[in-house]
């Protein structure tokens, strides 16, 4: 049994400065108003022993969600709790210290009686071993937390049964089963079986597929002319020999050399033979002399056709140029005569113009003179004597005779000149037409030379190249047709050889499929298959063994619970009667049975008439019932507790004065077996504990709390 000796706290929750508590009597009282640090003191013991297990939703305590460990007023954060324990059996002292590092990490150290100090996982394992109690067990059998105790009576049957198992010290059985089930062996086994079954069914599917493929291939082989007796290695090798003979004959006929082709002696070499043979056939197809000739003739035909087209184009150009030139030549002769006539007319008109111009010039100068001298004076510019009406006479002469005549002559001259220009343009075009005609003729000469070179014969001006080239093309086409027939025949011979090769392919495919089918048929005899079956069996045995062990654990748990319920039932009944003193409940029947569905223990609380008690209990009764179970299970001799102390935090919340006095009397009895650490702000309960508890007491009074100092505590 583990006893609590001292507690040192610094920076934990309500605490800032270091405080030490000594647990030197069977009754330790923590008195003070709310928010003075009492609960933090009990929490410190819990955190030191169980670390982060007492934080969070899994604890089942609402206030533990987002629980802060270090005091938020300290900088830097520093939380340290140290607990000194004593093993009553060995008298050995064990020191447990836990230091907060971060929200998810702390440092644990455990110092053993021999002075050896353990840290990390080693310390954690040792502490688990020393405490012999999970955090859940601690919470329900050592540390009375109202919320956790009430779970026993108000939660769903599954949780209630689990909580009572914990109160009875049986949670190890459940924990072990939970640990086993967490490994999910059943799921893994089912997955293995499913995979194995799927594999077995896939064997059938693959086998059917292979058989279908094989049937198809055999059908094709028969369609290709193969006999059933040929569908083996020997048949394939014989065809290979035949192929070689055919290729050899073909190569001799066409004058090509056949590569060194080895007829395979066994199936494994057939693939190489096929590859080489395929390459040779491809080469023969392109290198056969007739194919070469064919290619040459194709080139010749292309070239001749191109020459013919070029010639026809040149000839057409020449004819066009010639026709144009000859037509213009006739017209040009006429135009030359017309030009001469126009030039004569221009000469004449220019002469007329000059004559008219001379007289006209005299008249206009005379008019200008008269205007200068005075029009009205009529002075003759030659004799300088007055000639009446001279100015009017001169103007009339100019207007009626010369001005009009000059205009007519100029207009005629202009017409002649324009026509002359037109004819000159025509002469320019005629020159170009002549040049084009001469160039076209030269083009014809050149193409004739090229064609003569290409045909290898001289071409004279009289030759009709169109006909010559057409004849040449006809000859090429005739030769191509003959060669085409020869090539087609030879390609057909090669096609036949290819067909023989395809027969080899088919036989090889059939042999491969037969091999694959054989593998599938024999897969269940393979060592891998046997090993898989062995592993499947091994897993099945493991799962079966585990089921049997789980049954044994449940049965052992049930037997132990039955014994303890029998032992604790009267104690709970006694405690409840003494605390609650409810006249309507004469007896509480506390019993256990095996839940046929889960296999776990199932607990019942019934009254003297066999009816479920929970629906009729008042808040005070519930509180009394919870305390009765806690004290009955946690403190009765029938239970198997490793802790030598119990901690009760404000247990009198819903209790009346009589209930409180009764509770104190019971705690006084408990204190004979285990140290009772009682925390309370209830003055009545405080006074009762001081006056009614007969064992020596240590009292810590939490009289104040400040941000800087934390709880102000004095020992009395």
């Amino acid at each position: 049994m583990i006893e609590l000796k001292t507690l040192r706290i610094k920076g934990f929750r309500a605490y800032t400065e270091e405080k030490e508590f000594i647990f030197d009597n069977h009754v330790v009282l923590l008195f003070g108003e709310n928010h003075r640090g009492k609960s933090s003191t009990l929490n410190a013991i819990e955190w030191c022993l169980f670390g982060n297990e007492c934080i969070g939703k899994d604890t089942g305590i609402r206030e533990r969600i987002e629980w802060e460990i270090p005091n938020r007023n300290m900088r830097p954060y520093e939380a340290l709790v140290e607990v000194n324990l004593k093993d009553k059996t060995t008298e050995g002292k064990i020191t447990v210290a836990r230091k907060w590092v971060s929200a998810r990490k702390d440092e644990l150290s455990v110092t053993l009686p021999d002075g050896k100090s353990l840290r990390g996982n080693e310390a954690k394992e040792k502490l688990t071993q020393v405490l012999g109690l999970s955090f859940r067990d601690f919470l329900t059998t050592v540390y009375q937390h109202q919320e956790a105790i009430r779970d026993v009576l108000v939660q769903e049957p599954k949780e209630r049964n689990e909580a009572i198992d914990r109160l009875l010290g049986l949670s190890n059985y459940r924990n072990i089963i939970r640990g086993i089930e967490s490994a999910k062996l059943g799921i893994k086994q089912r997955k293995m079986v499913d995979e194995f079954d799927n594999f077995v069914s896939s064997i059938d599917t693959i086998l059917r597929s292979r058989e279908n493929d094989l049937r198809d291939k055999r059908k094709k082989a028969v369609e290709k002319g193969l006999k059933e007796t040929q569908l083996d290695e020997k048949g394939a090798l014989e065809i290979a020999g035949k192929v070689k003979g055919q290729l050899h004959k073909f190569s001799s006929e066409v004058g090509l050399t056949l590569a060194d082709l080895q007829v395979p002696a066994q199936r494994i070499d057939l693939h190489e033979f096929q590859k080489t043979t395929g390459g040779e056939i491809k080469r023969f197809r392109s290198e056969m002399p007739d194919v070469r000739k064919q290619q040459d003739l194709f080139e010749e035909r292309t070239k001749t056709t191109a020459l013919k087209e070029q010639y026809e184009q040149k000839e057409s150009d020449w004819k066009t140029a010639k026709n144009k030139f000859e037509a213009m030549k006739k017209e040009t002769s006429k135009l030359k005569v017309e030009v001469e006539e126009i030039e004569n007319k221009i000469s004449e008109k220019e002469k007329e113009l000059r004559t008219a111009d001379a007289k006209g010039a005299v008249i206009t100068e005379a008019i200008d003179y008269l205007r200068l001298e005075g029009v009205d004076k009529n002075i003759c510019p030659v004799c300088e004597t007055e000639k009446p009406g001279l100015f009017e006479h001169l103007e009339k002469e100019w207007t009626e005779k010369y001005e009009k005549a000059l205009g007519v002559i100029e207009s005629q001259l202009d017409t002649f000149k324009k026509r002359k220009d037109e004819i000159n343009i025509w002469f320019g075009e005629y020159k170009r037409a002549k040049r084009d005609y001469e160039d076209a003729y030269k083009g014809i000469e050149q193409i004739k030379k090229r064609i003569g070179g290409a045909l290898g014969q001289g071409i004279s001006i009289e030759d009709d190249l169109g006909v010559i080239l057409s004849n040449e093309l006809k000859e090429v086409n005739k030769r191509l047709e003959e060669l085409g027939k020869a090539v087609k025949y030879k390609q057909a011979t090669l096609d036949q050889i290819v067909s023989e090769l395809e027969k080899i392919n088919l036989i090889m495919d059939i042999l491969d499929l037969e091999e694959k089918k054989r593998i599938v048929e024999q897969i269940q005899q393979s060592s891998e298959y046997q090993q898989m079956e062995d592993l499947k069996d091994e897993m099945a045995i493991l799962v079966d063994d585990i089921e049997k062990i789980k049954e044994a654990i449940r049965e052992a748990s049930y037997k132990e619970s039955e014994q303890k319920v029998t032992a604790a039932g009267n104690v709970i009944d006694n405690y409840f009667h003494r605390i609650a003193n409810n006249p309507s409940i004469r007896k509480i029947e506390f019993s256990v049975k095996v839940d046929s569905r889960t296999g776990f223990n199932s607990y019942m609380f019934k009254d003297q008439g066999g009816k479920d008690l929970t629906p009729i209990l008042s808040q005070g009764d519930l509180n009394a019932m919870a305390l009765s179970i806690f004290l009955g299970m946690g403190c009765s001799r029938g239970t198997n507790q490793t802790f030598g102390f119990v901690m009760l935090d404000d247990p009198s919340q819903s209790l009346g004065s009589e209930h409180k006095e009764n509770l104190i009397r019971i705690l006084n009895e408990v204190s004979c077996e285990r140290m009772v650490i009682l925390s309370s702000m209830d003055k009545e309960l405080q006074n009762l504990s001081l006056s009614k508890m007969t064992r020596a007491k240590t009292k810590y009074v939490f009289y104040d709390w400040t941000t800087k100092q934390g709880p102000e505590v004095k020992k009395e």
């Binding site: 394992e125 688990t128 071993q129 999970s134 190890n172 059985y173 924990n175 072990i176 939970r178 640990g179 086993i180 967490s182 490994a183 062996l185 893994k188 997955k191 293995m192 995979e195 194995f196 594999f199 896939s202 064997i203 693959i206 694959k516 593998i519 599938v520 897969i523 393979s526 891998e528 298959y529 090993q531 898989m532 592993l535 499947k536 091994e538 897993m539 045995i541 493991l542 063994d545 585990i546 049997k548 062990i549 049954e551 044994a552 654990i553 049965e555 052992a556 037997k559 132990e560």
Partner: protein, 66 residues
């Protein structure tokens, strides 16, 4: 009677089968004492993972043969 003995006495089986189950229970009990629920889970996780990994390996190999 300790928990170990109590469970052992309830385990069913004959001959080798019984011995095997008792031995396995012994391993579970020791694991729990040493490391709680997690350690118990660890015993079977390791064992079953070895079996399933070997099984998967063989399955892959045999599928490739087909």
């Amino acid at each position: 009677m300790s928990r170990g003995e109590s469970v052992t006495s309830k385990i069913e089986g004959k001959g080798n089968e019984l011995n095997r189950r008792i031995k396995l229970w012994g391993e579970i009990d020791v694991a729990y004492e040493t490391g709680g629920e997690k350690a118990v889970e660890g015993v079977f996780t390791e064992h079953s993972d070895n079996i399933t990994k070997e099984f998967e390996k063989l399955l892959k190999k045999i599928r490739e043969k087909l």
